[in-house]
Symmetry: C3
Subunit: 361 residues, 3 copies
């Protein structure tokens, strides 16, 4: 990927409200932008990165849910998918428009104690308060110690969430919907055509249960990126029908001798996240493909959804609408188990915006 293509992609990003909202982004380093450069060994560029400024609004949603959004009145569950390159800094102005204490705590990136988002470090927004959180990222670097190994950089499929609502652990904020995806890319990583975020939160997917769970849509052959995040008190496994990926950083094999196993079912437990890319329908064709928690009782209770692979021209493939209709009429078993009851019933009264996917136009 050359510098030009990279920059071109970034410019498109500016029009993607799902990644970093245009109106609220104050670009700090437009002229010197070198996003397409700098391999790990390229120390000349390694220190360079952009500072992206974004304002996030934490808000009340219907059914006593909470959400993060990039504009006032536009909060969603999950919150906006944030995306940077290794070396970049995200400066987040969090506006708390609720009457609760809350915060934003990231995984995978660097932050000082005052951006921890944890009450332990006195890092949170009081009701109505605005506060800036700074997340930094970095490229891999020599591990030292006489070895040739490397300290990993920040690249990864990460996430962010509240760490202060209700208790010092953010349990209430997370239960109510204060979470979202965070991608830190390494330069040279393949960019997707579409992106979907699935958060297995307690007994819900994005705080929704079937048949109201997201229908993720792509066209046959599109490169689709899934970001999967776990939250709550239950253990889960994320299963996708008819597609699989390498269980490593990117979902691709790095070389023919890469020992990474392939999976189509992966543990997705609280605080964990992973991501991968697949070519929609490759080798299997278009159709309505299930994704679901493979814990039987969880899928029975509504932790399932549809990955709709349309024909290459965007039209509906045969049988897909019937499958969706079948799914929408899905009746869940009232399984007689001793499973713990979620702390809070999943909210279902608001539009699952991000469920429709983020497109790289």
């Amino acid at each position: 990927m050359d510098k030009h293509a990279q920059t071109g992609w970034f410019n498109k990003l500016v029009t993607r409200r799902s990644v970093l909202a245009t109106s609220t982004v104050g670009l700090a380093v437009p002229a010197a932008m070198t996003l397409g450069a700098a391999a790990p060994s390229n120390t000349a560029n390694a220190q360079q990165g952009v500072v992206k400024k974004v304002t996030i609004y934490a808000e009340d949603l219907p059914n006593s849910a909470l959400g993060y959004g990039l504009e006032p009145g536009k909060a969603t569950i999950p919150g906006p998918l944030l995306e940077i390159y290794e070396g970049d800094t995200l400066e987040i102005t969090l506006v708390n428009r609720t009457n609760r204490r809350l915060s934003i705590h990231p995984h995978g990136v660097d932050y000082s104690t005052d951006s921890d988002g944890a009450p332990l470090n006195n890092s949170f927004n009081n009701p109505g308060e605005t506060r800036v959180y700074t997340w930094r990222s970095r490229e891999m670097s020599a591990a030292g110690g006489g070895s040739r190994r490397f300290l990993p950089g920040s690249a990864g499929y990460w996430h962010y969430h509240d760490h202060a609502a209700g208790t010092d652990h953010g349990t209430l904020g997370i239960a109510k919907g204060l979470y979202g995806g965070l991608i830190v890319r390494r330069r040279g990583d393949i960019l997707p055509d579409k992106q979907f975020v699935a958060v297995f939160n307690e007994m819900s997917i994005n705080n929704l249960i079937a048949p109201n769970t997201p229908i993720f849509e792509a066209n046959l052959g599109q490169r689709v990126e899934f970001v999967a995040i776990g939250h709550g008190n239950q253990f889960h496994t994320f299963h996708l029908h008819a597609h699989r990926w390498a269980d490593n950083r990117t979902g691709y094999l790095e070389s023919p001798t890469d020992p990474t196993p392939s999976v189509d079912n992966k543990d997705l437990n609280p605080g964990s996240s992973f991501g991968f890319q697949v070519i929609a329908g490759e080798g299997v064709g278009p159709g309505a493909w299930m994704y679901h928690c493979h814990v039987q009782d969880h899928s029975e209770r509504g932790m399932s959804g549809i990955f709709l692979v349309r024909n290459a021209d965007g039209s509906m493939p045969p049988g897909a609408q019937e499958a969706i209709d079948r799914f929408k009429g899905h009746v869940h078993s009232a399984a007689a188990t001793a499973e713990p009851v979620p702390l809070q019933a999943p909210a279902t009264g608001f539009a699952p915006k991000p469920a429709e996917g983020h497109e790289h136009h």
Copy 2:
């Protein structure tokens, strides 16, 4: 592995009822088959793949269990271990000899919506119905996107299971025993001397609880392949005494700098599977070695069994029979926990055929 050796091994397969039953295999693969595209290195054989046809019978078993088998009246739990090479196609004629709706759904391979095995796609066998499911596989291929990465092929330790009995998620069918192992090998992979399949299904191993769980037998020095599969509603960890493996696709390190960690205890949650090979008794000698779920309450309740490593000549090593006798007299604690009760009591009244292992003669 050259083409001749490969073919030789396949021929042996035909005599292994545990893999693909002789009587029901009709070799299709004519001259012009070009299913596979390009193995990374072995281009000479890479273009070839076979179509293997197999008939599987889904049947009722004692104690209201269900099983898959390769011949009428011969169903087992788990069902037959199926095995192909990347590029091969499995054409499965599923004969439903029960009065329930059921299906067969694979992990890891390619299939069109009509072979999904999911009621969502109207893909199942009604009572008494026969239906063909086609599973395709492929080798790794270039990932595109300007990168040198690869989309992974189908190689892996996978599994198959019902997706239609009782509910749209196959919960009842899986609970009753409709599951089995599926191996897709990459050309050049090491072949084992013996194979064992252990399915941690709800609170059972292969729907059996100790002391009726499988005793997996091998001789000192034999190359043994384990396939471990998780099902049900519980989380589990698979632990094997005195043996360990690299936590990657094969269980071996690919090179001296392969960063894969070694494990002897691995998460085995619903819908997940993994496999590995070990040299029986290497470095530790023969004996009766435990394998068990390491969740304490689960091992207490009967999720443990024995990996019996005999002497190289097949005779019993000192102490092994005493250990087995001790195990057979094992009394389980009635642990006072709030653990959810399995949906269905494990069936124990039928012979655990596959537990005796599959030999590569």
Copy 3:
């Protein structure tokens, strides 16, 4: 790392009671010691290793807890962190100073049935009994089978635990504190400045609950090694704030193309263990950083602690003492869940010695 440096480090080990106690170690191979030699490809030295003899005392602790220690009356929870190089042998004389049957069972290393530590193999200490357990280790070796792959060596972040107290599975012994860490290093691995062991045992960390959980202390820039171990009946995820690691054998990337993902949250289920090294405070600065189980209800109930990164000179950074004070006053929610109750309340009446960390002086 040259031989001299290596040997120097080993000599320091002799003064580290946390690894192998001086007074109880009978060095078996002083003259021929070759700890600094032998890479995997160095077959000349590959067969060489030292025999380390250590006496471990299993003892009663206050609040009906149990612990392992290197001297009589000095048992701790977790027990001593044991550490060897691939090729070494650990000969453990276990002195049972309790009136219970108990044993010591390792993960990751080689042992004959009589050192299994399992009642299945009649391998345990009766009350008051002394018994020798021998653990061997090895380097990687050719996998055979016509491949260029390798059987993994013993290197890893492992652990040991009772397998005989109460039941044949050691459930009672583990619940009461009979567990500890075991590191097998590959020659050339980077050595840490400090080491911490965190055992997520049932609903405790090292059988302690917050605010009595360990405060792990290091200075900014020190290379810190964490060993994380899971035990009991619950699933857990280990999360560390502001630090992350490669999810492989060492926690470092092996090369710029190493496909290993980075994590800061990892499943830590019963019987599993992992380890990694981080540079304390790198990229984030000093401070009181939380580590905790990310299962929300578990952190609420006390499965959290502090990784205190002091200034480089050992002084307290601004805000850290306040954070600790806040933590010590932490009140836990009485979450209304149906979560199973631990078999035994965590013991809190004894000093968590290893919590203070093991230093490589």
